[in-house]
Symmetry: C2
Subunit: 439 residues, 2 copies
C-alpha cells in the first residue's frame, strides 16, 4: 500500500512501506535564456511545485521588435528592456542567475556555466539567435547587426555621428560618404531600420544643422533576393517596396554584397556605394545550443526537435524559440518570431506540468496570428491571414499589438507617452551618442 503525504513545503513524499524508499525532492527545472520563450516557460510554471532556475547572460529581458527604435534614437534602452529579476520577483519558486552557459552534459543532466554547475530534471533551452555574416565574420566590425541593446546604441551612435561628421568636414566627397547609409537585408528588420533612418534624417533632425541638409541623406536598402519582406504575400511586399521609395529609400533588389569595409560596400552587379555607416540586417543563426547538446542541427545551427519540442532521445529537454527548428502542422518551418517563441515556451511548461502529474499532453501546435512590419512613421504592412492591411491602419495595429505585448505596466505607459510625443512633436530625446563614441 502506498501512502502519499503532503509535506508542508508542498513537495510530495512517496513512502513505500515494503522497501522503505523515501523520495522527497522537488523537480528541478532549468531554463536557459530569458527572452520571449524562456520567460513564457518560466511563467507557465509559476504555480508548479518545482525548483526553477532561469539563467541568462544578461540581467534584462529585451523586447526585440522595438530594438530598431533604439537604434534610430526614438526610444531609450530602458524603455524596451526590463530586469529579469523584476519580472520574476513575485514568483517564489524561481531563482535567477546571470551566468553564461559553457556546456551541457545530457548524461549527468548538468549545465555548466562560467561559475556554476547546475543539475536539472527538466531543461528548457531558449538561447535565441545571433547575427550571421555568411562566412564573412570580419564584416561584423564594419556593419553591426541589431540583436542586443549594445548593438542598438552602437548603431545609434554611428548614425548620429555620421551627421555630425558631415557637418564638420570640409571635403565634399567625404560629406557625401557621411550622408550615405546602407542597410543590408530586406527582411522586417532591414525595412524598419531603413524607414526609420529616413524619417530621422528628413523630419527629426532636419533643422538641427547649418552646413548640411540632413534630408539630402541617401538611404539605400540592399536585398539579395527579389522582394523585400519575403515572408509576406507578394502584394504586400510590393506595397512595402513602393512605400519605402515614397519615403526616399533606394531599394536595390537581387543584389548581394561582395565587399564591406570602412569605405562602404560593393554589390555583386558591380555597383559600389561609398558610406560611413553600413548596417547588417541580413542574416541570423542560432545560438550554440546544438553544439552544447551534441544533437543534429540545420544549416543555421537550429536544433531539430520533434512535435513535442524535444531533441532525439531526450524528452526531458525542450528546445524552443529562435534556436529550434520545428516543423508545424502544415509541414512548414515555424518562423523565428516572438509569438512563436512565446507559444513554444508555454507548451514546454505545460508538457513539464503534465509529466509531473503523470499525464500526457498533445504536440505543439503553432497558431500563426500573422505578420507585421512598419515602414517609417505612418505606415506598415500587416498580413493577418484573412485580412491584409497596409498604410496607416496597419501602422496603428502594429503599435497597439507591440504596446500590448510589452512586459510591465510601467513600460507600456512610458512607451505610449514617448510614442505619442515622438509622433506629435518629432521630439527624439533619445538622440544621444554615448560611450565609446564619446570623444
Amino acid at each position: 500500500m502506498r501512502a502519499t503525504i503532503q509535506e508542508p513545503s508542498g513537495s510530495s513524499l512517496s513512502v513505500e512501506p515494503d522497501t522503505r524508499q523515501v523520495v522527497a525532492r522537488r523537480a528541478k527545472v532549468v531554463i536557459l535564456g530569458a527572452g520571449f520563450g524562456g520567460l513564457a516557460a518560466a511563467r507557465g510554471l509559476r504555480h508548479a511545485d518545482v525548483e526553477l532556475t532561469v539563467i541568462d547572460r544578461r540581467n534584462y529581458h529585451l523586447f526585440q521588435p522595438l530594438l530598431y527604435q533604439v537604434a534610430t534614437a526614438v526610444l531609450s534602452p530602458a524603455q524596451i528592456a526590463m530586469p529579469i529579476r523584476r519580472i520574476l520577483s513575485r514568483q517564489s519558486n524561481v531563482t535567477v542567475l546571470m551566468e553564461r552557459v559553457e556546456g551541457i552534459d545530457k548524461e549527468s543532466r548538468t549545465v555548466q556555466t562560467t561559475n556554476r554547475r547546475i543539475t536539472y530534471d527538466y531543461l528548457v533551452v531558449a538561447t535565441g539567435a545571433r547575427h550571421a555574416y555568411f562566412g564573412k565574420d570580419e564584416w561584423a566590425e564594419t556593419a553591426p547587426g541589431l540583436k542586443t541593446i549594445a548593438d542598438a546604441t552602437e548603431i545609434r551612435a554611428r548614425i548620429l555621428s555620421a551627421f555630425e561628421r558631415a557637418e564638420a568636414v570640409e571635403d565634399e566627397a567625404e560629406r557625401q560618404r557621411f550622408l550615405t547609409f546602407v542597410v543590408v537585408g530586406g527582411g522586417a528588420t532591414g525595412v524598419e531600420l531603413a524607414g526609420a533612418i529616413t524619417e530621422l534624417a528628413r523630419r527629426v533632425i532636419v533643422r538641427d544643422f547649418r552646413r548640411i541638409d540632413p534630408s539630402s541623406a541617401r538611404v539605400v536598402l540592399v536585398e539579395a533576393g527579389n522582394v523585400v519582406l519575403p515572408t509576406m504575400p507578394p502584394k504586400l511586399s510590393e506595397e512595402a517596396r513602393r512605400h519605402l521609395e515614397t519615403l526616399g529609400v533606394e531599394v536595390f533588389l537581387g543584389e548581394a554584397v561582395t565587399r564591406c569595409d570602412a569605405e562602404g560596400v560593393a554589390l555583386a552587379g558591380g555597383r559600389q556605394i561609398r558610406s560611413s555607416c553600413v548596417l547588417w540586417a541580413a542574416g541570423v543563426m542560432a545560438s550554440r545550443a546544438a553544439k552544447w547538446l551534441g544533437v543534429p542541427a540545420d544549416r543555421a545551427g537550429r536544433v531539430h526537435v520533434d512535435r513535442n519540442l524535444n531533441p532525439p532521445d531526450h524528452n526531458e529537454i525542450f528546445v524552443i524559440g529562435d534556436t529550434a527548428s520545428v516543423i508545424g502542422k502544415d509541414g512548414r518551418l515555424v518562423p523565428g518570431v516572438a509569438p512563436a517563441a512565446k507559444q513554444m515556451g508555454e507548451h514546454a511548461a505545460r508538457a513539464i506540468l503534465s509529466r509531473l502529474d503523470g499525464r500526457t499532453t498533445g504536440p505543439f501546435d503553432y497558431r500563426d496570428y500573422g505578420n507585421l512590419a512598419t515602414i517609417g512613421r505612418k505606415a506598415a504592412v500587416a498580413d493577418l491571414r484573412r485580412i491584409r492591411l497596409s498604410g496607416f491602419s496597419a501602422w496603428l495595429l502594429w503599435n497597439i499589438t507591440h504596446l500590448w505585448f510589452l512586459i510591465g505596466f510601467r513600460n507600456r505607459a512610458v512607451v505610449f507617452v514617448d510614442w505619442a510625443l515622438a509622433y506629435v512633436c518629432c521630439d527624439h530625446a533619445a538622440r544621444l551618442i554615448t560611450d565609446r563614441h564619446e570623444r
Copy 2:
C-alpha cells in the same frame, strides 16, 4: 562725413568716404563646451548679430547634478541629457560642431580641433572639469568617477553586477566582497551616491534575489577630511552624517585611501576593506584649458581670471565654469557648481554684447543661492544662507529646484513622472547592465 548703412543681413557697414575702407563682417564668437556655462553664454547671445559656433566633444548637454541617479539605476541617460542641437535648433545665429579641442592660438585667434581650424573674435572657454586621482591615475580603472554618462552607466553596471555575482558564487568570503561597496569622497557626489546605493540595496532590489539578502550589503563612505559636505555649515554636515548612518551607511572620517585595486581599498589608519566595487567621488581637476591658453593656473588646473572673467592681457577671451578660478566679491573662490557656471556664462554674453555696442559692463558678481545635497530617498540638507533645512522639506526643495532647471519641457515631465513612480512604486526600470558588461 560718415554714413552708416544697415544692410539687410543686419550687419553694419561703415563707409569712410575718404579712405573708402569698407568693413562688413559679423563678429565671430566661439564657445568651447556646451555645459551649463557654455549654453548660458550661447543663449545669452541668441539675439546678437554674431556668428556663433558652439563646440563640444559630445552631442548632448548633460544635467550633471542628476548623474548619480543614472549611476544608481533610478534614471536613464536620456532623461538627464538633451542633444545640443535640439536645445539650440531655434537659434539661427549658432552652428554646433561635435569636435574635440586640440589647442588654441591666442595670437592668431584660432581654435584647433581634430578636423577644423576655427577663427574667433571672442572666445568663451567653458570646458569643465575631470576626475583627479591625486597622482594615482592607475586607480581610475578600478574606481570610476562620475562625470559623464559613460561613467554613470559603468558604475551602474558595476553595482548591479556585484549583486548578480554575489547571488551566483558559492564562496562566502567572495560573496561578502561582492556585497561591499566603497565610495571615496564625502562631498555632495559621494554622499548622494552612498545614500542611493543603500536605498537600492535595502528597498528596490531587496525581493529580487533568493540566495542573498541585498539589504545586508555594506556601504562605506570614506572621507579624508573631518566632515562630510565640507562646503556646508558644520551643523548640516553633522546632520548629513547622522542621516547617512541611519540609512545604514558606514561613514569613515579622517581616513585617506592608500591603496585601491580589484580587491578593495586600504586606508591610512591601517584598515582594509575588501570590495569589488569602489567608486571615486574624491577630486576633480580642470580641463586642459590652461594648457591650451598658455596661462597661469591653480593647483587643480583652473585658469586664473579677473573679475571680468578674462585671463591676463586678453579681454577677448572669457574662461568660465569649473575650468576657471574666480575670486568673488567676498574674497572667496567661486565654487564649481552649476548655478555659478550659468551665471558666468550669462556674464560673458553680456560682456560681449556690450563690447559690440561700444559700451562697458560691470564685473562678474556671483549670487550664491545656497547649497543642496540629497541623502537617500526622503532627506536632504539645504543651506540657503538665511534658511537651513534638513530632512524631507529639504529633499522636496532639492527635487523642485533640479526639476526646474532641467532643460526642455519634455525632460521635466518625464523626469517628474519617473521620480513619482520611483518614489511610490520603488520601480527602477533603469536597472540595466549593458554594453561591455554584457556577458
